[in-house]
């Protein structure tokens, strides 16, 4: 059992208020990802859980035990750092055994635990090497191995994959998911990469300027973003935001004026007439059509062919509108494209306070 409860946490760097009255419950055995742009306070939060940053006010409890004044080693946690933070003068074995040696474990136990961790991560062959003789991916495995050997209740990951190249990142991502499956411990993961957040976690916490913007499971966040920030952050390429004018609403539909046409959304919303709103729609919910009942047409000025799919960049008021098309789409730059919106899956946001209205 190792849930983490954070209550009214505050953190100041001088006069800057980095973490603002922050409360969060992280469930036992969950894989929770703190995600947000740089400077949003996600790393600070993780470091406060680890005990590397002081807490100005509020409490952090691990397993119902307040840990505010405990040093990192007494919190029963292990942390994996972005830069791996291996000890360069020690062999891989010694790196992984360092914590155990400090705990004064017996030699047999140290051997056994290190070998077990090495086996899990498939680094048995490198145990006698120094970190500088390893590749980036191997180093990250050692760093994770160092965390595993101590058998902590909670694993903390601080952007562990951002120093790896794209291919390795995908591979390590899968291994981390497998690891969580095997170890069944609570993992808290910090990243600015929404793909990692989406693929790894069963709970995502989107942070914006020291506050929770939205919290939930990945698909929930994807389908029902509670505000413009989350809508723009989750999903790649990001959701298209189109300025619109609110017209009217009934119990079943809403009429807005966007892109020079009237769009009728099949959902109930609440807003004032003539108010400025933002119409949000994901690239995959815009469909190219040959019919004459299209919602909008425009010229393609960039076409990105990825093989599996094609991203077509249209333009509206100098702002791009991205459309996802199949990989074999014959669209060329300069073509005029007619599109139809899947209005059922679109969102409407208040332009003032950026919250969702439908």
């Amino acid at each position: 059992m190792s849930s983490i409860n954070i209550k009214s946490l505050n953190k100041y760097y001088g006069k800057t208020h980095v973490i603002k009255d922050f409360s969060l419950d992280i469930k036992d055995q969950s894989f929770t990802t703190l995600v947000g742009p740089s400077g949003c306070g996600k790393s600070t939060l993780l470091r406060m859980i680890a005990g590397l940053e002081e807490i100005n006010s509020g409490t952090i409890s691990i397993d119902d035990r307040e840990v505010n004044d405990l040093s990192p080693k007494d919190r029963n946690i292990a942390m994996v750092f972005q830069s791996y933070a291996l000890y360069p003068h020690m062999t891989v074995f010694d790196n992984m055994a360092f914590g155990l040696k400090l705990e004064k474990r017996s030699k047999e136990e140290i051997n056994e635990r290190v070998l077990e961790a090495a086996k899990t991560l498939q680094i048995q062959d490198y145990l006698e090497r120094k970190p500088k003789q390893l590749s980036g991916g191997q180093r990250q495995r050692v760093a994770i191995g160092r965390a595993i050997t101590r058998k902590p209740q909670v694993f903390l990951f601080d952007e562990p994959l951002s120093n790896l190249d794209a291919a390795l990142r995908v591979q390590m991502r899968i291994e981390l998911a497998k690891l969580h499956e095997q170890l069944n411990t609570t993992m808290v993961y910090v990243t600015h990469d929404q793909t990692e957040a989406m693929t790894l976690s069963n709970e995502i916490v989107v942070l914006d300027q020291g506050e929770i913007s939205q919290q939930g499971d990945p698909i929930e966040l994807y389908n029902k973003p509670s505000n413009l920030f989350v809508a723009g952050f989750i999903g790649s390429p990001k959701m298209n935001f189109i300025p619109a004018q609110y017209k009217s609403s009934s119990s079943e539909s809403t009429e807005v004026d966007a892109l020079g046409t009237n769009l009728i959304l099949p959902k109930k919303t609440t807003s004032q007439s003539d108010e400025k709103v933002t119409f949000g729609i994901r690239p995959e919910d815009i469909h190219i059509t040959a019919e004459s009942d299209h919602d909008w047409e425009s010229k393609a000025f960039v076409v990105e062919k990825l093989g599996s799919n094609t991203f077509i960049y249209l333009e509206h008021d100098n702002e791009p509108v991205v459309v996802e098309a199949p990989g074999d789409s014959p669209v060329k730059v300069g073509d005029t494209i007619k599109v139809k919106f899947d209005l059922d899956r679109s969102n409407l946001f208040n332009s003032q306070n950026t919250n969702i209205i439908g």
């Binding site: 590397l52 080693k73 292990a78 750092f81 000890y87 360069p88 003068h89 400090l102 160092r146 101590r150």
Partner: protein
């Protein structure tokens, strides 16, 4: 293939210049210290590798060495006493014409006696009458002298002039005066870099500020304190522990600053990883920071050691001048006054004082370079 540019050529030339400017005098000093003191006084060290021509005056033996053989009296002997490897090629018997005769020729003295001088210094002096003078006659020779080196100067300087004891004294000053500050400052720099405590920044600022205080300013106040302290406990104010403390104090600021400079280049995540792994500050220091700081320790060791080794002022102020305490630099200065004309003593003494710095530098120089550029390259 590396491109040859103007700047690369220039930097190579500059390097060459510095190497030559450093090697030549050092080498010259070394050679001079190995030369015979008489030769040293009259010719430069660069002439010592080739055979040189020298003009010398010798005196033959007097009447005591004569033997009678038939009608003639002979004195047969060698001009050089002891096996000098010189080769005579001309000689003379008057100061007006010192190279009148080819070697092997027979020369005539004014008193009608005849002398023949051979290459190796052998001579035969022949006279019809008995030799009467106790003193021999002067022979002028032009000889070729092959290169020759001797360790006599070292024997003289180290044993007779007391430089050996001074050498040991300096070692007894320099080693503790280097190691003590290094040990203290490594702890200090660690605390300044990786421990959070109230007033840390002010402390650091104080240290950096104290770098600019000239040590000459502190000599008298410190010595006064030493005197009071010595009087209180009835011990001498001038002692080895005293000078160790003085050097430690004077070196504290710069050593701490240099070490702090290095320690803060260590990745902070590594130190934090150690903390998460359960290491106390002491564990982190001993098991992580010290092993990784060996290059910078070595470079600071060199700097501090050379500074203490070459120091004269602090040694003069905090140590007595009697032989059991005098340091090398003070001894050399003393020799310069009393034996200023004896070049063999000065060159040898100077070279003795250089041996340890040279040894230290050459054995630790790879650390020295690494220590100075530490942090500038990604590991």
């Amino acid at each position: 293939m590396k491109k040859i540019t103007f700047t690369s050529v220039l930097s190579q030339l500059l390097l060459l210049f510095f190497v030559v400017a450093w090697i030549v005098p050092t080498f010259g000093l070394f050679i001079s210290s190995l030369r015979d003191k008489d030769v040293l006084a009259i010719s430069g060290w660069w002439t010592s590798f080739t055979t040189t021509e020298i003009n010398e005056i010798y005196r033959t033996e007097g009447k005591d060495a004569q033997i009678k053989d038939g009608n003639y009296y002979f004195i047969k002997s060698n001009l050089f006493d002891g096996g000098q490897e010189k080769e005579i090629f001309r000689f003379g018997v008057t100061s007006k014409n010192i190279d009148e005769y080819e070697v092997g020729e027979t020369a005539l003295f004014k008193d009608q006696t005849e002398i023949t001088v051979f290459e190796n210094g052998d001579y035969v002096w022949k006279s019809k009458e008995e030799f009467k003078k106790k003193k021999g006659k002067r022979i002028f020779v032009s000889a070729k002298s092959p290169p020759s080196f001797t360790l006599d100067n070292y024997k003289e300087v180290l044993l007779k002039e007391g430089l050996g004891q001074a050498f040991l004294n300096t070692l007894a000053v320099a080693l503790p005066a280097t190691l003590i500050p290094l040990i203290i400052c490594s702890y200090f720099a660690y605390a300044l870099t990786w421990m959070k405590f109230y007033g840390r920044d002010i402390l650091l600022a104080t240290i950096i500020a104290s770098l600019v205080v000239p040590l000459q300013m502190c000599l008298i106040p410190v010595l006064t304190i030493y005197n009071d302290f010595g009087a209180l406990f009835g011990v001498s104010a001038k002692s080895f522990p005293g000078i160790w403390m003085a050097h430690t104090g004077f070196g504290l600021a710069s050593t701490t600053f240099l070490l702090w400079n290095f320690l803060k280049t260590l990745p902070s995540e590594m130190i934090e990883a150690a903390r998460v792994d359960g290491a106390t500050h002491y564990d982190t220091f001993i098991k992580i920071v010290v092993p990784l700081s060996i290059p910078s320790f070595a470079s600071i060791f060199i700097l501090q050691f050379l500074w203490v080794w070459n120091d004269l002022l602090v040694g003069l102020v905090f140590l007595d001048k009697h032989p059991s305490e005098i340091i090398l630099t003070a001894k050399l200065k003393e020799l310069l006054g009393s034996r200023g004309e004896n070049w063999e003593i000065l060159t040898t003494g100077a070279f003795v004082s250089m041996t340890v710095p040279l040894f230290i530098f050459f054995s630790l120089q790879r650390y020295f370079i690494r220590g100075l550029v530490a942090g500038s390259i990604k590991g």
